[in-house]
């Protein structure tokens, strides 16, 4: 049974678009058909832009027809987390305060995607101001996990996770400050990459915490993530945290060969406090990679003990500063959970904040030393399976995500199996600016087909296939 | 003036060729400095610790031997220096001017000390400073106040007060100080010597006790601009041990000292840098700028509006950073801090993370504005301080009839260069009521050769008219 266009990945669609076997309009239509059928149950979108998208798709179609094919993203419909400025359009950051905010410039990454010919088909739900991991948004409603509608899709890029998983868009961009790309990727069974800090410009992205924020791709496959990263990465004078390191051809790293490579495992932090079912699947995945020729080495990273504290202090310090004015002047307009967090954030002292920076420096140097001995580090992504919407998570969901934010190191979440019908994510962390290496390990593992081709239970009853 | 004191009064650049040509020995220079130190230190108290004479002379003898054997290392070979007591010397006591560290013995040399040792410099002792560098008077409760050689009832400035006083009174040939809110330039201005705060990251701070990481700098304090250039060349360089160190290529700053500033543009910012300045200080600095105009430079007025917030940014930053550095000791042994430092540290715990981060935002803004201004001008010139030396023990100072807080007054004009990291040199501009007045020359990041050259050009006009503090007659 052939896949619908909307169910395909960027790398499956690209050659068909390039060779004019399929039109961008058909791809977008396929996406919107699914959106109309299933979006109500999932609530991934805050805004569906069908008219605009079809206009852009038509334009792309004409360009490709004229022989002006721009590359693998040309004509691909994407929906982005509603945190990135899009010129002339409302961007709400999941909030009430900014519900009617209209951006006057494209975010740098948006501008890059548009230049590459992407068709923006809508804006995706998120946790209010990105400040949380459940995407249970009081202003726009909760987004639901496509694998089990009672469960959270993770957050804060929950809309992106759900939409990509349920084929309600081809790919998305999320942001990650304490795991917000990788946690929904794990919960929804897709690929989520947080690049190195400074790899991708954040200009035009509403900040949560400057030194922890990252923008990254959320996709159906590893190859799609690599393609998107190639287009997104690069120096931008408008983002002072951006580094001017040359952009790699990330897709060229995807050989699937990891023979002789060393996988590091840190057990005292990453495998402590994790649900056994998740641990089992993650260890099984690592065993499979050993079978492919990689070696495993146990490492120690003592500073990790203080990661949650450092993450909170930094996030509160920086995020608190960003919201200092609004939390004093219009606190009631924040959702309850975010309001509490914002108020608490105001109480952080400068010494608390600075001490957290000391921890980060210590952690960075420990990770550096570890990466002299191992090629990548592997760990679980989430400590527990996605809880029910409305339940208070029993454990800090971002426990295993935050070290990569604190150190700025690149980290990816890829599916490694199911437990209780819910996807489980494997995390791979690499040295700074070695996204290619991280993507290749993920690619090698992806080939073992850990989800066995399963998809969430949203099948079109009437099929329109080619 | 005794014969043996002639050498102590010389500069590095005067002594170096004599040493190189073996016309004098390092032993003679060192003996001269030690003699003068022994004679004057009781009155001035610039030294916390004078090194054992025998040992110092022994190292001088070694240097003499090397030079005689033909292994002359360069301009610093055989030159006796004394550094602010905040830089690590392996196996020696380094107190930071404090009681808590009074017996602290580090097990490694600070990077700058290693470089000076490699250059063949000798060390006569450790210089007095404000406790933990946390103040601008060098009125040290544990080691006694350091006094201004121009008027012993007055402060030498701080926190590198010992360095300022020792260089001004020829108790050392040259020194290194540290500067977080002006602590090299304030004593330089007050004591009538040259003090250079380089660009942030140019000189490694490894082995230097921190006051506030993102504001701290190490730099030379010398009798002449040329000496500052010589010392700067020796101490600069990337150091992986210092997270704030930047890569730079070695530079012969001396070669840049041509004195030619024809066609260069001097920027003057009046709203901040010439606000609330003692009338005589203002006159002297403006006269100085006029002299530079006569040498061929032209003036341009500029605006830097964000400077309005620079004091807030400076205070929030160094309060927060210093509070963390001293936190444990403040909790465990508060009584061991001097009263003023303890009070400052208690206050320092109050800023919230918001305050600190807002300060960082302001810093970015100020830096941007300076960058834009430097597209139009080569250097920015201003007074180093609004005043001259105040009396030891006074907490406030009068400027044109108005009472002002001493600390605020001392750091007000020097802080912007710390906040932005741009280089700034203070040089004497003249005397007011017999007390030195300093002028500061700032430039864009990594433009040390430009500001040194301007300073050199101005120095040639002999602003102090060859005057030195008259302490020769002092009897113990």
């Amino acid at each position: 049974m052939r896949k619908q266009l909307a169910e395909m990945s960027i790398s499956e669609l690209a050659p068909m678009l390039r060779d004019r076997e399929v039109s961008p309009v058909e791809v977008s239509n396929s996406v919107f058909t699914r959106v109309k059928a299933f979006e109500k149950e999932i609530n991934a979108y805050v805004e569906i832009n069908e008219e605009k998208a079809l206009e852009a798709a038509k334009k792309a179609e004409q360009e490709i027809f004229r022989g002006e094919y721009k590359g693998p993203l040309h004509g691909i419909p994407m929906a982005l987390k509603d945190i990135l400025h899009i010129k002339g359009e409302t961007v709400s950051f999941g909030s009430k305060i900014h519900k009617y905010f209209i951006a006057d410039q494209d975010a740098t990454v948006v501008s890059k995607l548009k230049s590459a010919g992407v068709v923006l088909n809508g804006k995706l739900n998120m946790h209010e101001y990105a400040w949380g991991g459940t995407t249970n948004n009081p202003h726009f409603g909760p987004t639901r996990n496509p694998w089990n509608l009672e469960k959270i899709p993770g957050g804060s890029s929950g809309g992106s996770g759900a939409a990509v998983a349920a084929d309600l868009t081809i790919a998305s961009l999320g942001t990650d400050t304490g795991g917000s790309i990788r946690m929904p990727a794990a919960a929804c069974g897709i690929v989520g990459l947080k690049p190195t800090h400074g790899r991708v410009s954040k200009s035009g992205c509403f900040p949560l915490s400057w030194s922890l924020d990252h923008i990254g791709p959320m996709t159906k496959t590893v190859e799609d993530a690599a393609i998107l990263l190639e287009y997104m990465a690069g120096y931008d004078v408008n983002d002072p945290t951006c580094e001017s390191i040359p952009v790699d051809s990330y897709t060229s790293y995807l050989t699937g060969d990891i023979k002789g490579k060393v996988i590091g495992i840190e057990q005292d932090y990453f495998f402590n406090n994790v649900d056994e079912r998740i641990e089992l699947l993650v260890r099984k995945a690592i065993d499979q990679m050993e079978a492919m020729g990689a070696k495993v080495e146990i490492v120690k990273i003592p500073s990790l003990k203080y990661a949650p504290y450092a993450e909170m202090m930094t996030c509160y310090g920086e995020g608190g500063t960003i919201h200092a004015k609004n939390i004093r002047e219009r606190p009631e307009e924040y959702g309850e959970d975010v309001r509490i967090e914002m108020k608490l954030a105001q109480a952080i002292s400068s010494t608390d904040y600075l001490q957290a920076q000391q921890v980060r420096n210590w952690m960075k140097s420990e990770f550096s030393k570890v990466f002299e001995k191992v090629d990548v580090l592997m760990a679980p992504m989430l400590p527990i399976l996605p809880p029910n919407i409305g339940d208070q998570p029993a454990v800090n969901l971002g426990l295993f995500s935050c070290p990569a934010n604190l150190t700025g190191l690149p980290a990816i979440s890829i599916p490694c199996g199911f437990s209780e019908g819910l996807p489980v994510g494997l995390q791979i962390i690499g040295p700074a600016f070695e996204e290619g290496r991280v993507l290749n390990f993920a690619y090698a593992f992806e080939k073992t087909n850990p989800l066995k081709g399963k998809k969430p239970p949203f099948q079109m009853k009437v099929q329109k296939t080619i | 003036m005794k014969m043996s004191e002639v050498l102590a009064k010389k500069t590095i650049s005067e002594l170096a060729p004599l040493l190189q040509r073996r016309e004098i020995s390092p032993v003679e220079v060192t003996q001269s400095v030690l003699d003068r130190t022994k004679k004057l230190n009781d009155s001035i108290n610039a030294y916390i610790d004078i090194n054992n004479e025998k040992q110092v002379l022994q190292s001088a003898k070694l240097a003499e031997k090397e030079i005689l054997e033909g292994s002359y290392r360069g301009a610093l070979h055989g030159i006796p220096l004394a550094l602010k007591d905040i830089l690590n010397f392996k196996g020696e006591k380094v107190t930071m001017g404090s009681k808590i560290h009074q017996n602290f013995i580090p097990d490694f040399d600070a990077t700058v000390v290693t470089k000076l040792k490699q250059a063949g410099a000798l060390f006569t002792g450790k210089l007095n400073m404000h406790e933990y560098a946390y103040g601008g008077t060098t009125n040290n409760p544990h080691f006694g106040p350091c006094r201004n050689p121009w008027d012993l009832d007055r402060i030498p400035g701080g926190s590198s007060g010992g360095s300022g006083a020792a260089v001004a009174s020829d108790m050392t040939i040259a020194s290194l100080g540290t500067d977080t809110a002006g602590s090299i330039r304030i004593p330089a201005s007050i004591c009538g010597i040259v003090g250079l705060k380089p660009t942030h990251g140019l000189v490694s701070k490894y082995g230097c006790f921190p006051l506030s990481w993102s504001l701290d700098h190490i730099g030379p304090m010398t009798k002449t601009v040329e000496d500052a250039a010589i010392l700067l060349e020796c101490i600069t360089g990337y150091d992986q041990n210092d997270a704030t160190s930047v890569k730079s290529s070695p530079f012969n700053y001396n070669e840049a000292l041509t004195g030619d500033i024809k066609g260069k543009v001097i920027g003057i910012e009046e709203d901040f840098f010439f606000n609330m300045i003692d009338h005589e200080v203002d006159s002297l600095v403006k006269d100085g700028i006029r002299k530079l105009e006569e040498l061929g430079a032209r003036i341009e007025l500029v605006k830097i509006p964000s400077l309005k917030y620079s004091e807030f940014a400076e205070y929030m930053t160094f309060m927060a950073e210093s509070a963390l550095i001293h936190r444990n000791n403040l909790i465990e042994r508060p009584q061991d801090f001097g009263e003023d430092v303890r009070a400052s540290l208690l206050l320092a715990n109050i800023p919230s993370a918001n305050d600190y981060l807002q300060a960082q935002q302001i810093r970015r803004k100020i830096s941007k504005e300076f960058s834009m201004v430097f597209e139009q001008i080569d250097v920015l010139i201003a007074p180093t301080l609004p005043v001259t030396a105040s009396v030891i023990g006074e907490e406030s100072v009068v400027i044109n009839g108005q009472d002002c807080s001493l600390t605020d007054t001392l750091i007000r004009l020097t802080s912007p260069a710390n906040l932005t990291g741009i280089p700034s040199i203070s040089i004497p501009a003249g005397l007011s009521q017999g007390l030195p007045v300093g002028m500061q020359i700032m430039g864009p990041a990594f433009s040390e050769e430009v500001i040194l050259n301007f300073a050199f050009a101005f120095e040639q006009t002999n602003p102090l008219k060859g005057l030195k503090p008259e302490i020769g007659q002092l009897v113990k």
């Binding site: 203080y306 504290y309 108020k343 105001q346 | 701070k205 230097c208 990041a445």
Partner: protein, 57 residues
Amino acid sequence: MKMTVCDLLISMGVEVNEEEAMILQTRWEELQQLKMDLDQIIPNPADIALRNALTKQ
């Protein structure tokens, strides 16, 4: 003189109602727990990630 986190917030101009006060106090205490023995641990006072970033020529 011990201040609760709520007193501190109020002194900074942040409103706190009764309901929030309890939650805030609990959250604050949880945060302090995460700190563990950090005050004793960080050894080197010169160890910090802050920098006064300047572009090199």
